[in-house]
Symmetry: none
Amino acid sequence: MEEILLIDDDVELCSMLADYLGRYGFHVSAVHRGDTGLKEAVKKQYALILLDVMLPGLDGFEVLKRIRGASSVNILLLTARGEDVDRIVGLEIGADDYLPKPFNPRELLARMRAILRRSSGAEATLEPTLLRADGLELNTAARTVSQNGKRIELTDVEFALLESLLHSPGKVVTREELAEKVLGREFHPFDRSLDMHISRLRRKLSGSGTEDDLVKTVRGTGYQLAVHSGASTPKD
Amino acid sequence: MEEILLIDDDVELCSMLADYLGRYGFHVSAVHRGDTGLKEAVKKQYALILLDVMLPGLDGFEVLKRIRGASSVNILLLTARGEDVDRIVGLEIGADDYLPKPFNPRELLARMRAILRRSSGAEATLEPTLLRADGLELNTAARTVSQNGKRIELTDVEFALLESLLHSPGKVVTREELAEKVLGREFHPFDRSLDMHISRLRRKLSGSGTEDDLVKTVRGTGYQLAVHSGASTPKD
DNA sequence: TCCTACTGTGACCATTTGTTACATTTTGCT
DNA sequence: AGCAAAATGTAACAAATGGTCACAGTAGGA
């Protein structure tokens, strides 16, 4: 059931829409003031917000702007009586679409679906690419790494290295594999640069006092990310 | 070569625009009266009609209405006075877009292209195409960008650059790709202009203090737009 | 015409990455 | 155990890569 927030001071319209949209699989929460609407909009994660322009408490445009400052939730603007100026400004401020009042509920439904279709498609690119193990967290989308909540700055090679290790925590990753994935070239027995990068990575990760070292060497084979706490991401 | 019909009584403006647009691959036919404009509009199939509102012979709105009666050709309205009334009425009658005079030829070009793009594609609505991530919002229809609700002014190259990155937030885009899409040429290893544009773009985006920089460098490969607040990753 | 904004280029600098050399550890052998 | 060879760790330096300043060229607008 998709959660919809309806911000409109017309109580009767609200209940009518809640009823209508309810029949099509939407759950509508309605508030009738701009300020409370804004609060609600940022508090909860709605699939879509229907926002009227003429509002008591806080103007609809203002609400729109402030929501946009905090979130990229879908917003469909409802403009009071044919005021097309509103449409224009609304679109430029960042509404996903607009609908002039009075509107046909059917058309509203169609537009809502269009917006949701678009955004669900786009969402596929926003995969939550988090790799975790043992207090380590690597976010490939944000390209950040933190250890026990503390941010760690890594260079690109170090990042790729940790990413490869974190892909299968506890498993040994061969030098050959690492060379290919991290350095993008074949491994040569006398190439020491991998060792260097491991060394640098270790220095940046805390708990590098010989024992408890997160990155363990497997002599003759490769490296492995030590896993102490059982909580990890089963990826294979 | 796209055929454009320009209906405007300002002869000088007409020749200036014909010249300007000609340089961008449009062929502009100009007429200076409403009635002759109407005739021309229905006689031939134009890709787009630029229609001034204040016209001798026949009022611009009237022309618009009558053209619409016979054809669904693209129409961009040029409003003489900045009076919003014009805009409103124009859109309600059925113009695809409007542009208040005096306008920047560049903006006209951008809007013309937007209309043509829309009409050649499937949709013919006024829906904006919004690309978002992490407080950033890029509106390809209005050609605007804002960050956390605040408008940001970008040059064409910067806009194209951000657009390319925003197409796949959190993913690395190679230099080769960017060079082709943004600069329209092949990437040459010693070409530093991409770097410059990235640099300039970063400066305009807030949060450019090394860390949490929205535009991340992936050494040896390209760039990536960092996504921190994945809309799909609720922390609780 | 001048003025302005945008784009591209060369130069210079900081950071990252690779290499060499040497220290240290491990392993195998006697 | 003692020793040598092999593997790994790391410091120091060199090379590559990217960031940005400053300037030049260009195009558009006044």
